[in-house]
């Protein structure tokens, strides 16, 4: 049989026509094609370098096959050839499926879905703790249910540590001590139980109950951090400014006078010099005067009280007789201060 005759009764898989003698024929797995028929089912162009992909009996060039059927990576957007990670309703390159908090590869170690984020086990524990307002121990990586112990800038279960002095297992009351004042490197810090700490003589701030490592303010029989010694009313630190003490509390000048009434009744200003107090009020010495005629009065001037206002005798004597009579009667029948105190 001359060459070419062996295809005499054969035909192209695609167009069903036969082949001319000496015509080029493409043969794949026993199927014969005209070269012009052996093209991508999508773009009708020949396969670059003869590489094609088959899907449901159709052949596609690499580009169209990927366009039509290959998965896209949820992270980089490129096609995925080879191992596909299906997770979180998307496809991923193994190198692209990472913990959303620490960027660790998750393909082989597994992941946990937390609030629609893929997280590694450690990060999941941390996120869960944070959402509950809790900390994760820096040593054992599990959640701290009780109060945490802060040490060298991290949080821990207190029971991982022992007192540097007596060796007792610590609880959350333990204190971190900067063993070399002035050095900020917290690698120098050590932990002590509250008992040993108190014995070390480090002053404790009367406001925050924490040790004072830097400047100490001593007032009201207590020690304070400079920034914690504040006005009991406005809570602004005194920072060395004058403060006023009353019933175990400290106040700034403005609030002390506002609260305890040392504003002058006439000028309504804080009384700078000596204070004249009478009739439930206070005056600058030079503003103390008869409320009726504005005549200045001194410490020694005798005066009458009229609606708790000072009134000089001259003015009081000018009051209508009926008013003086009423005031006298009211004065005589009113409960005396001395009897009220008894």
């Amino acid at each position: 049989m001359p060459p070419g005759d062996m295809y005499k009764n054969t035909q192209c898989v695609r167009c069903d026509y036969g082949f001319e003698p000496h015509e080029k024929i493409v043969n794949t797995n026993g199927e014969l094609w005209h070269p012009q028929c052996f093209v991508c089912a999508q773009c009708f162009r020949s396969f670059p370098e003869g590489i094609f992909y088959e899907f449901e009996g159709r052949k596609y060039c690499e580009h169209d096959f990927q366009m039509l059927f290959a998965p896209c990576c949820g992270r980089c957007g490129e096609f995925i050839i080879g191992r596909v990670i299906k997770a979180m309703n998307a496809n991923w390159h193994p190198k692209c499926f990472l913990c959303e908090m620490c960027d660790k590869e998750l393909a082989d170690q597994g992941f946990i879905r937390h609030q629609n984020k893929a997280l590694c086990h450690d990060c999941n524990a941390r996120a869960k703790a944070a959402s509950l307002g809790k900390h994760v121990c820096h040593k054992c990586h599990s959640m701290i249910d009780d109060r945490p112990l802060r040490f060298r800038g991290e949080v821990y279960h207190p029971y991982h540590f022992n007192c540097s002095s007596c060796g007792i297992e610590l609880n959350a009351d333990a204190r971190e001590v900067k063993s070399r004042p002035g050095f900020t490197a917290n690698e120098m810090n050590e932990l002590y139980c509250l008992r040993c700490h108190d014995k070390m003589g480090i002053p404790i701030c009367g406001a925050c109950r924490r040790p004072i490592e830097e400047r100490v303010v001593t007032a009201l029989g207590k020690h304070f951090h400079v920034e914690h010694f504040v006005c009991a009313k406005c809570e602004k630190p005194f920072l060395g400014n004058r403060h006023y003490e009353k019933k175990g509390l400290a106040y700034c000048e403005t609030h002390y006078h506002q609260l305890f009434g040392n504003l002058c009744f006439v000028c309504n200003q804080v009384i700078g010099g000596d204070v004249f107090t009478a009739l439930n009020k206070a005056w600058c010495v030079h503003h103390f005067a008869c409320s009726v005629c504005d005549t200045k009065m001194s410490q020694k001037t005798k005066f009458y009280e009229f609606d708790l206002k000072p009134t000089c005798k001259k003015c009081f004597d000018k009051f209508p007789a009926e008013l003086r009579k009423r005031l006298k009667k009211a004065y005589e029948t009113s409960p005396r201060k001395s009897s009220a105190a008894n």
């Binding site: 005629c293 504005d294 000018k318 209508p320 008013l323 009113s334």
Partner: protein, 271 residues
Amino acid sequence: MSKVRKIIDEAKESKNPELDLVDKGISSFDEIPSLLTMLNLTRITLTHNRISVVTPALANLTNLEILNLFNNQVEELPTSLSSMPKLRILNLGMNKLSALPRGFGAFPVLEVLDLTYNNLNESSLPGNFFMIETLRALYLGDNDFERIPPEIGHLKNLQILVLRDNDLVELPKEIGELVRLRELHIQGNRLSVLPPELGNLDLTSNKSVIRMENNPWVAPIADQLQVGLSHVIDYLRSETYKFVYGRHISANAPAPARLTERTKKSSKPKP
């Protein structure tokens, strides 16, 4: 009269910003016209004179901080007074005021207002009277108030409130909003109960005064008053009292009779 002129001339010469014209027999501002040119004055005291008309031109003294007209014959005030930009203390005690002008409450910085011993009552107050937010002392003793408008609650800075010897038959509950109040005089009225809201105020500290004698109190208040003022305040704060008060208000008992003691007040117009 030359004496008054001499005092004014001296004050002008020495540039003293405070002028005292006490008990000088002055009956009108017409007698002291040069006063109105002394723009530097910060205080004028005209106590114990016979002035019946306050000239509107007084408001031109824009530096005035204290105006004292105690014990005069003033029956009417000019509206212009309320616009004085620096007036802090206004003493109009012991005059013959039976009304205040419209817009009286417009004072921008008034702190002390003394209207003791006049003929004022709730209908003599203009609508904006309680808008003087800067007020820290209000003296209304010896007047004819039967009720205090609830708007008194607007006076957030009030520290002193004197309502002694009026005709008050009740106090508004808004008095409990005057959180800075530390002096309350309500003696000599026709009060039988107090609003429980008064218990909100700190009136029993050693920096506070409350005077409440000489009122026809209901028996439980009168009993507590016998023991002491702090007992009255504690009682006002109790649930028992809220019940007593509620019952008293709903019973709508007639107000106690008017007191006769003050009918001889010299501020009253002569019949």
